[in-house]
């Protein structure tokens, strides 16, 4: 739908491809509401807390954005994250070489997971939802098998490097910004990025222009897999252990962050700017829920699941195609 004189309201109800400015407005409004209702949100210690919670979700959502833009979905990222934390915790030693080798192996594992998903979606022509749901269960099964009651071993040096902080700045912050910038570059400045958008927009047309669509599709899942592996490594370092359930919340939360950020599941529209705002919104609301339930002495984990579900439904309602 093309309108020359679009008012703010009509833009609000007909989000266009680059609607990231819009989602930042929503975020700003939310921040104002939150600060009025829950003033303790803006204390420095709480803000740094929000940030620590935000980084893993941000990392995994960068990968999820590529897949969703290309018209797919990856419901296996949560299990991939858990599995990677366990791989790291099982093989890591204390020497620099051993740490580097573990990181390399974990990234390779993420690459392999993503490749498996991509090949099943592209070559075997199974719908992405079914593929990643099933591979998710398979990864989860392997993670349970690797899980040890002790949580394995993560080198203290690795933890120090990954969670290092200098005042306001910290290593997690740089990690997130670094991968976000790489993602931005890939999506907005390269041919590959344009193909990702085109693939989600209309696969047939892209294929008719002579592009190998299969390769682009597989690449999107590989990116999601590698980002999940990086998330897993970060989580393993932060918690200093591996666990079969560490990744569970990230599957739905990453989809929520991407969709809230204005990239619909139909693909081809949206982008990382929106996703970043989506990540901030999801993390902020989760944190606010913690603060509120602390105030009323409630068990916040129980309400978090409801919150995630409700936000995603509202976002889908908001962005649905008007016919």
């Amino acid at each position: 739908m093309i309108t020359n004189h679009s008012s703010f309201l009509s833009r609000l109800f007909h989000p266009e491809r680059h609607s990231s400015s819009l989602i930042w407005l929503v975020l700003a409004a939310l921040v104002i509401i939150v600060v009025t209702i829950v003033p303790e949100f803006v204390t420095p210690s709480n803000l740094s807390n929000v940030f620590v919670q935000m980084v893993p979700l941000g990392l995994v959502s960068v990968g999820q954005t590529f897949v969703i833009l290309a018209g797919g979905i990856d419901l296996s990222v949560g299990s991939q994250i858990s599995l990677v934390t366990l791989i790291a915790a099982n093989i890591m030693g204390d020497s620099v070489l051993s740490i580097l080798f573990s990181i390399f192996l974990c990234l390779l594992a993420g690459l392999a997971f993503g490749f498996l998903n991509g090949v099943l979606v592209h070559k075997v022509q199974i719908p992405p939802l079914i593929v990643t749901l099933c591979t998710g269960f398979i990864f989860q099964g392997i993670a349970y098998a690797l899980h040890k009651t002790t949580g394995g071993y993560i080198s203290a040096n690795f933890q120090k490097v990954i969670t290092a902080s200098w005042g306001v700045l910290s290593m997690p912050f740089f990690l997130f910004i670094f991968f976000l910038l790489i993602g931005f570059y890939l999506l907005n400045r390269t041919r590959f990025g344009r193909y990702i958008y085109a693939l989600g927009g209309n696969e047939e047309v892209l294929a008719n222009t002579g592009v190998n669509t299969g390769r682009i599709k597989v690449a999107s899942y590989v990116i999601a897999g590698v980002m999940a592996a990086i998330t897993g490594l970060y989580l393993a370092a932060r918690v200093k252990s591996g666990g079969a359930l560490y990744g569970v919340p990230f599957t739905l939360n990453s989809v929520t962050a991407v969709v809230v950020g204005g990239s619909p599941l139909s693909g081809g529209e949206g982008g990382l700017a929106g996703t970043t705002a989506g990540v901030v919104i999801v993390s902020m609301l989760n944190n606010v829920l913690n603060l509120i339930s602390f105030r009323f002495n409630l068990q916040s984990t129980f309400y978090k699941e409801i919150l995630t579900g409700v936000i995603l439904v509202i976002a889908m309602l908001f962005y649905r195609k008007r016919s």
Partner: protein, 320 residues
Amino acid sequence: MSAARIRKPDQFSFFLKNYGIYLGLAALLAISGIISPQSFNPTGLLNVAKQAAGLGIVAIGQTLVILTGGIDLSVGSIVTFIHVYSVGTILGKPELVLPVSLLCLLIGLAFGFLNGLGVTRAQISPFVMTLCMDFIVRGLYFIYTKGQPRGVVPDNLRFIGRGRILSIVPVAVLIWLGVAFLLIFVLYRTTCGSRLYAVAANPRSARLSGVKNDRILIVVYAISGLLSAMAALIITGDMGAVSLGVGGDYSLDSVASTVIGGTSFTGGIGGVEGTIAGAYIIRLLTSLLQKINISNTGKLIIQGVLILAIVGAYSKKKNG
């Protein structure tokens, strides 16, 4: 007439598509006979059927949803919710069983109805809607139980899960087969059934021929919720205790039963009759794996691979 009549595949693939599931069942039965001959007798096999009853009923609802091209990922949470809610409300009082059971069926229906509304009126894709519902219902049962479910299951509720007619045939199996045959009749012998296949196979032409697509879809999701609640009551009766871990596997298990039973994700192909065997196969597989000491871990992996293999084989056929 059902849409299945219109397709005319060649003889062999027709045979495989319609009866392949029973070949698979026979093969699995033979394997289980070899692995544990001591439980390979009518009593043992009926026991598996009793364990499969709850899953069988959930899977019937799942089959209807998948037939329409959707998927219901909220059944697992609905089963757990109804399970903890019924036990926590009845609190061992036999006179409360009937009213609470009816209330539970209504609650299940309401969850399913909301799924249906989200999918049709709000145009949210089925798996997102039901995944969100899964999270919401999970949050609800955690809030309801505060993490510690309590209550006692009275004898008359235990009867529908554990009881046996003439001390041979489990009541649960009779309920399962009753529901299955009712829905087979509805699908193949009523206008409602052929409309469902029409909506599933080609929504546009169904709408143009005067079918109210949305209404059919809402009813299908509502039935799935209702059947999940019914299954939860049977499972509660069979267990006789209360636990938060009850429903966790039912989403994957019911999807697996449906797919193994020959219903396709593309919609409009398949039916409830294959799902009966599918659910039995899943439970037989579970008990076999337990016998050779492969825990839940192995079951997750095997089911994942199984669904991928079956869906993959089907999609290859379609392209080739």
